[in-house]
């Protein structure tokens, strides 16, 4: 009951006119940087922190966290309309969102993403308010060992993204995993595959790879013959069709809980709930063959999940002062700069502040919904911009986006290389999502495994000793056996018999 009272008093803070204004600025900037590839919420938050010096702390944090969750809404737009993901979480949205846009259903994709995001955002904030503190202690149970098992589970889910052929999916997977090993080895600091290039010491930036493989290759494809570039079909309403409402609702509900739960775990990122949600939806769907060809659940689930992830990720921050993702780490810096140390004491000493920020997240999500629903139709018009004008603009946007990664031409060059690779791969039907996702998971997985082994003095015993880890491994085994069994049953399992 205390927390409910707290939340109510929080609204009295969040609903003052200047805090409403700061919230609006925050979510608008967040939405904007989400739309622009390359500049993600992390950079935007960092750049805006100095501007908050003079503000009262609660307004400052309201604005900065607005950028954080606002960015998640914006990222959807470029993924759906021009197949250019600005961050890892949006890679999943590209899969079905862009297909929907090609079918003239960009409005529906954006509309359903906005509604799902709103629902996920609100529920996770309410979860944060009501059951946050006890859950935080659970989050701490996730050490490197548990992390490894979670990543392993995630990796089996990537199999679901492989499209028509398992072999081609595995090729993509190997590429992603091997790219992830470039740079400094996480445990010993040994340099691997760096070709004496200082730019490679910290690895290749994920955004660069994703923009090259998805966005740039799409531009190359479109430039083949601009005159013949497929005219998108007439845009229909931004509401899902009648028979889609039920599965979509369930996708949103599942995505909400998944995102919230993953958000609790420090060290994860928003790509993981999106990936898990997509695979889960495909499993639950009555017609899984629609996935990859414009299934609306494939947009609704992941989009909901990455927004409810944001609310979940605030729990370890507010209750324990643990930053669970890079953006949250920068938010933590802002807290400290304003003389506030996150943690249980903050709830006691500055309840107005904590509840004010939490309430503002409810308000901000509402604002985003009201901005996005009408805008969905408006944004969708971008898909109608003639290709000869749209592609060059997207190209220059992507170039700047890659440039901002380290303010150097290096990343632009890398993106160009991946653009060509992506173009060739599209021609011979090698799926690209597994490259990006195994890239994310691979690096974390190797690190977590070696950490776990080192913590157990060179033994793997930790993996089965920890109950959480054991559960994950059992789940992984079940999913794997299940998939193999299903494949064999469908007579598709034997690789040699594979045919399109």
């Amino acid at each position: 009951m205390d927390s409910l009272m707290g939340l109510l008093s929080g609204f009295s803070v969040a609903l003052t006119w200047h805090n409403l204004l700061y919230c609006l600025i925050g979510v608008t900037v967040g939405q904007l940087v989400g739309v622009l590839p390359g500049i993600g919420p992390t950079t935007a938050t960092a750049l805006l922190i100095p501007l908050t010096y003079g503000m009262p702390p609660v307004s400052a944090i309201i604005m900065l966290s607005g950028i954080y969750y606002g960015g998640m809404y914006g990222g959807t737009i470029t993924s759906v309309l021009i197949n250019t993901p600005g961050e890892a979480a949006s890679v999943i949205t590209c899969l079905d969102g862009y297909e929907m846009a090609k079918q003239g259903r960009a409005g529906a994709a954006l509309g359903v993403a906005a509604m799902g995001s709103f629902f996920g955002g609100i529920i996770s904030v309410i979860g944060l308010a009501l059951i946050g503190p006890p859950l935080a202690d659970f989050a701490l149970k996730f050490g490197p060992t548990e992390m490894f098992s979670l990543m392993l589970f995630g990796l089996t889910m990537v199999v679901g993204l492989m499209g028509a052929s398992i072999v081609r999916g595995l090729v993509a997977m190997c590429i992603g995993l091997s790219l992830a090993t470039i740079g400094m080895d996480p445990i010993s600091g040994t340099l691997r595959f760096t070709f004496n290039q200082p730019f490679l010491i910290n690895g290749i930036d994920l955004v660069t790879i994703a923009m090259g493989l998805f966005g740039l290759s799409e531009i190359f494809l479109g430039m083949e013959n601009l005159a013949a570039a497929a005219k998108p079909a007439q845009i229909t309403s931004f509401m899902p069709e009648k028979e889609e409402i039920r599965p979509t609702t369930f996708a949103v509900l599942r995505g909400t809980f998944l995102g919230f739960f993953i958000g609790l775990i420090p060290g994860t990122n928003s790509a993981i709930p999106a990936l898990l949600s997509y695979s889960m939806e495909k499993k639950f769907s009555k017609n899984p063959e629609k996935f990859g060809h414009g299934a609306i659940e494939g947009v609704a689930g992941p989009e909901t999940a990455n927004n409810s992830y944001c609310g979940g990720a605030m729990i370890p921050l507010l209750t324990l002062g643990i930053p669970s993702s890079p953006t949250i780490a920068i938010l933590l810096g802002a807290f400290i700069m304003h003389g506030l140390t996150p943690g249980p004491i903050l709830f006691v000493q500055n309840p107005d502040f904590v509840w004010g920020v939490i309430a503002s997240m409810v308000v901000g999500n509402g604002m985003l919904l009201f901005m996005n629903l009408p805008l969905a139709g408006w944004w969708a018009k971008i898909a109608e911009v003639p290709a000869k004008l749209l592609y060059p603009i997207v190209l220059i946007l992507s170039i700047i986006g890659a440039y901002t990664v380290s303010n150097d031409l290096w990343d632009v060059g890398v993106m160009l290389v991946f653009g060509v690779v992506g173009y060739v791969m599209k021609k011979i039907d090698i799926p690209m999502a597994p490259i990006v996702l195994t890239y994310v998971l691979g690096a974390m997985m190797e690190k977590a495994l070696l950490q776990s082994v080192k913590m157990n003095n060179g033994s793997l015993v930790g993996l089965v000793e920890s109950p959480i880890s054991l559960t994950m491994i059992v789940l992984t085994a079940i999913v794997l056996t299940g998939s193999i069994y299903a494949e064999i049953k469908n007579k598709k399992g034997a690789i040699a018999l594979e045919n399109d």
Binding site: L47, S178, T190, R192, F193, F220, K388, T404, V420
Partner: protein, 170 residues
Amino acid sequence: MKNETVPENKGTFYELVKRQNAGLWFGILFLAYAVLYFKMSLDIPYHSKLGAGPGMYPRWLSGFSIFIALIYIVQSCTHQVFSMGRSFPGKTELFNVFTVFLACLIFLFLLDVVGFNIAGSLLLFVMFYRQYKMLHAILLSVLITFVHYFIFKVCFSVPLPEKLLSLFGF
């Protein structure tokens, strides 16, 4: 991996290229990549004091990649043949793509010499000039470049190079 995208003038040679199995060639390139990766992973210590060294994971991964590459090659020769001619578009289309790629490369070299505004306008112009009237193409490319410049440099303080402008005191 780009050698397939270069258009070829000689008719007979072009026909030959068209008949090639794109999947096979990609498989061979991927195999070469995996083998190179394997060779390089040999230079990284396999063991450490703990047992698992920094080279262990890459070496197993490269082995797996080589295995997958071989299966892929077999598969693309027997079951799912992607011939060059069917998978890749004709000469004109490839030439269009190549132009964009080349324009991007030139942009890379020009950016630090003449600055973003000029290099960006040039890049856009290359893409616009066959689609629009000359004057429109020039106006569009300059306008779009400056709008981007304004958004990123002024609003987000991204340090885009601006060599020529700075000489004039901007």
